[in-house]
Amino acid sequence: MREKRVKLRLLAALTIAIVGGTAVAQNINAAGATFPNPIYNRWFTEYAKAHPSVHINYQPIGSGGGIRQVSDGTVDFGASDGPMTDEQLSQAKVKVIHIPTVLGAVVPVYNIPNLNRDLNFSGDVIADIYIGKIQKWNDPRIAKDNPGVNLPDHQILPVYRSDGSGTTYIFTDYLSKVSPEWQSKVGRNTSVKWPGPGVGQKGNEGVAGMVRQAPYSFGYVELIYALQNKMSYGAVKNATGKFLKATPDGVTAAAAAAAKNMPADYRVSITNAGGDSSYPISSFTWLLIPRQFSDPAKGRAVKDFLTWMLDKGESEAAGMGYAPLPAQVQTMVRKTITTIK
């Protein structure tokens, strides 16, 4: 009889613990791009420390996933670095708006054993690597951009994204601008039919992981992934002909023109931007926030987070390899936040 009482008490305590321990925090679910995942991850963790009653659970499943899940309503908000098309916006079951958060850069990463120099890549060279026209590292076109470098006579393994990816969108957007063949054959999208050889990996993490481990491979990832994993990344030729390695300043320069003429829905492409110091493969990344939240408490929490992001979050961007939003854009965003219900 005493045993039974002890068991009952334990059961009661467990139930209270479960119910009580979790009833406190409000859970907000989000999903989307892996491009900004490192900084979103840090933001959400810090925000949870500052506001322990709100847990924003962000799952980096790729921009395509973010668009699909927020359109279906299975997550509370999404994230994508490829803006939604008009068709996607009209077909979505939940109406969303784009809110830009940071700017980032996509860099070409490669793994050539015993080479510790930074390589230069022209846009059309990159396009032809993925089309399959350029197959070996010591191809004359690569050598032309890298005089004096001892390139190995070895086949290139191109690595791309197997999942729906905003990073792919940015990358293919850039390639479409610099290679007419790419524009006609492939186009720009979060998920494309890769014309040439190569292997697909899931997420920025997957591509970075693959390139890190496979010698003679070549891929494209967001800058922070190359930095965090100490990978070699190359310089890309920008619209004025200069070879630039990605830096937050280069990205800010690329956004300068767009910042002045920002459309109201924030959907703008800044790849291959003009200007001497612009890094050519730059982009905004957006959060896809529903215009109206079905749960007003969630709406308030999200609005609160967005304001926190503008006040405190943006200052951390540069430290992580992203560029903060230009001042004019920040002002616009503050106004847009008030329209969310």
């Binding site: 979060t190 494309v192 481990q213 496979a214």
Partner: protein, 353 residues
């Protein structure tokens, strides 16, 4: 039992109120034939009557029918959600090799090829080994070693797919890339199967890890089959002067042929649907591979990679149609296999597998 006795003591014949028992002996109020009160009658009938048994049977039957319900429900929902893709692409979906989310053009042939190629290659590698282990454990193994070795082979079946994938990514892929691949290319390059560059991930690596995964299934079912062959068959062949191998071949394997084929087909069924480990090492390239080193894509992998992000109804519907195809194929394959196995073991109590 006390109440009848008390009633006898408390109701002397003279004061019997009912009057209906005049002249009846005392025994009328004693024993189980004594008229029970209405409440007692009610309680006893609730727990031992037909109703309780029928209710119990009904509940058990419903739970058993739930298995049918599960299969029907999965079928129904897969068909419902893939209607869009079926109406758009028709049967050509399975014969064309195209996967272009941009233009909305989908054809699953490359995945079917990848699935079949990896599964058949895995079978090729696993079946001889599995049969060898089965023969060893049932016929040749000393009694003391039997339990540990069979335990070890069953442990292989217990390792989850994702752990196999983890090991494959960090051990098998570098092994294939740095040691095994060049070796194969050097000695077997003439077969034209090893052309193209070897990056570690691809068809061959996926097949190897798949072979390791289906081995325990084929082996354990083959063992069950071989144990079901009556000992008289073995003894008869030995009495005719056969060597041990001849005894196995003629007495056991010949009788167990059908069941062993069933075991192999079961292994095939598992290989067709295997997802996680294959996804991590197949390279995710939706094109028909032209060498054992090239990356490919399987039906299960494309679903795992692209399901949560398929934007657009046709895209999602195409993926679900692939899921439907996978479901139907594995059901058919498993049904054939189980029928073959059952034919040999005749439902004899198998081990808990």
């Amino acid at each position: 039992m006390s109440s009848p006795i008390i009633s006898v003591a408390q109701t002397p014949r003279q004061t019997d109120p009912s009057g209906a028992s005049q002249g009846s002996p005392v025994q009328q109020d004693v024993g189980p034939e004594a008229p029970k009160s209405a409440v007692r009658q009610f309680l006893m009938s609730r727990s031992s009557g037909k109703a309780a048994d029928t209710t119990f049977l009904a509940i058990m039957l419903m739970c058993a029918l739930s298995i049918f319900a599960i299969v029907i429900f999965i079928l129904f929902i897969l068909i419902a959600r893939s209607k869009l893709s079926i109406s758009q692409f028709g049967f050509k979906f399975f014969t064309r090799s195209a996967w272009d989310p941009v233009s909305g053009d989908f054809g699953a042939f490359a995945f079917i090829y990848g699935t079949l190629a990896t599964s058949l290659l895995a079978l090729l590698m696993a079946v001889p080994l599995a049969l060898g282990v089965a023969v060893f454990l049932t016929e040749l193994c000393p009694q003391k070693l039997r339990a540990p070795i069979s335990f070890l082979t069953e442990l292989l079946a217990a390792i989850p797919s994702v752990v196999y994938g983890l090991w494959a990514v960090f051990v098998l892929v570098p092994l294939m890339r740095d040691q095994l691949g060049p070796l194969l290319q050097k000695y077997l390059g003439w077969t034209q199967l090893f052309n193209g560059y070897n990056f570690g991930v691809g068809l061959l690596t996926a097949s190897i890890i798949l072979a390791i995964m289906i081995l325990p299934i084929i082996s354990s079912i083959a063992r069950d089959i071989m144990l079901a062959v009556p000992i008289s068959q073995r003894e008869g062949v030995l009495a005719l002067g056969a060597t041990r191998w001849e005894m196995i071949r003629m007495g056991v394997l010949r009788n167990a042929r059908i069941g062993i084929v069933g075991a192999i087909i079961l292994g095939l069924g598992r290989a067709l649907g295997e997802t996680m480990a294959v996804t991590m090492v197949i390279g995710n390239h939706p094109e028909i591979p032209n060498s054992l080193f090239s990356p490919g894509y399987t039906l299960a992998s494309v679903i795992a990679n692209e399901f949560t992000e398929a934007t657009g109804d046709v895209y999602l519907s195409a993926l679900i149609e692939i899921g439907l195809a996978l479901f139907l194929v594995t059901i058919v394959v498993n049904a054939i296999a189980r029928a073959l196995v059952w034919a040999v073991t005749r439902g004899a109590p198998a081990r808990a597998h």
